[in-house]
Amino acid sequence: MEGIVLALFVCLILALVTKRYSLPPIPFYILGGILIGKSGLALVTSDEISHFFAQMGLIFLLFFMGLELRLDRIVQNPTVVVTSGIIELTIDMGVGFVAAYLLGFSLMDSFVIASAFYVTSTALAITSLIENRKLMMREAETIIWLMVFDDLVLIIILAVLAAANQNIIFLFLKIAAALAIMYYLAKYGKEFMVGILDRSDELPLLFTFGAVLTTASFAMYVGIPETLLVIALGIALGTTDPDAFEQHARPFRDVFLVVFFVFFGVTVDLTGQMDFFVVGIICLLAILSKMFSGFLIGLFVHGSALSGIEIGGSIIARGEFSIALASLYGSPPVAAIIAVMVVVTSIVGSFTAKYTGRLRRWMSSPGRRAAHRRVH
């Protein structure tokens, strides 16, 4: 228990520092965890309580993702979303997988690394769009929809990884049954739920927490991965009153997710046979590959190389979902590599996201054009 208190205290300080200097918080939570954990000062070890808290963080992260996925909205400009999504998926997933496999990882490990390599951090990308005041750019909308596409692919990745060591047909039937139950609950229980969410006492919070926790434990009981089921719950509840659910789930997600990041850092083993060459290559490729796929998206969707640089620079940061994949399916060496990759890419990504804006202003400033013309 003292471990969690110490960890939360470290987080509080890190949160204050990162907010003060507008830095991405996720890498610093992980670094904080590494510092006080196994690979650092060894002040904190993970125990049953911290494990439960971290699990809650993961579950609420995925529930939230489901809530925000409103499928009716996705069909607005399908060609742009699908084109950019497929470019990103093939290039980044491909580069990640080939690199990991050539560096000597097993097929399964390579797939986990490639997935973590592919999934851009929605939270970091969107926060940097807002903070760098880039929302009005036409590329911003492409990036936002690209993040939705990422989320959808992540669901498929989670399903594939879950099915890897199970009887697929049986699992599929169980999931279909659970989805049907949820669909009918959302459809016929809508008025009841809206009634509860409208109250101003403790009931809405209690109901939201209870619904997520019940779903997760139900999933464990019947042997379906709880990750998939809480996403499905999010999507189902998203059809009732998503804003109210977001409001009531946010406090749980915010607190538990920070614990999740810190304890991921605490348990990561960087002292083992950490091959710096392998880690270095993965990190470098993680940056270059996103720059390249972003560049191609810019060319194909907006017909402009500048747009490509902008998009590439904005989607480098990996974060919450990569860590989630590492903690769910990563063996210790894989988790260590993903941890370093997330820390490096999220810090580099926050700078590139800032820098591309300046680069662009500089490229299109009249002074430079005039100078350019004089040279020729």
Binding site: E68, L69, R70, R73, Q76, T122, I126, L129, I130, R133, L135, M136, M137, E141, I144, W145, M147, V148, R360, R361, S364
Partner: protein
Amino acid sequence: MSLRSVNLPGVGTKYEFTTDRGDTVALFFTKTGTIQMYTLQRGCHTPSAAEMTPVEARRLGNILTGAIIEAENESVEIAFSALADLRISVHTYVIPKQVAGKTIEDLQIRTKTGVTIIAVSRREKNIINPPPSFVFEAGDGVLVIGETDQLKRFERDVMVR
């Protein structure tokens, strides 16, 4: 002028319109609670942006609708195009000492000026639709509704005595 609004997942709602002269204004109500306003001059590539809190944004809105803003008095004029261009103003005032102790009936507000007092705010509490027997105290904030001319008469005849 064409206005379009989009719901951006994870970000919030975007409103964008282009003026007849080709300038663009975009507004984002983000999920973090702040409002970002971008303006892009025709022919320019980089917009300039301002970030506002909801209160600041509301003030900006009041200025844009043409209301006069003073430190304590705020007013909003609403035009209903469906009701033969009915224009109606809502204005706030602070009750001065001269009026304190009198009731709405004593002051004959509606018969003299035509305006209606729809709410009184006293020490952080709001009284909606005060009865004619309602007694004013100095410092009460009142919300008055009426046409612009009627509000001027109210200012002249009731507030300054």
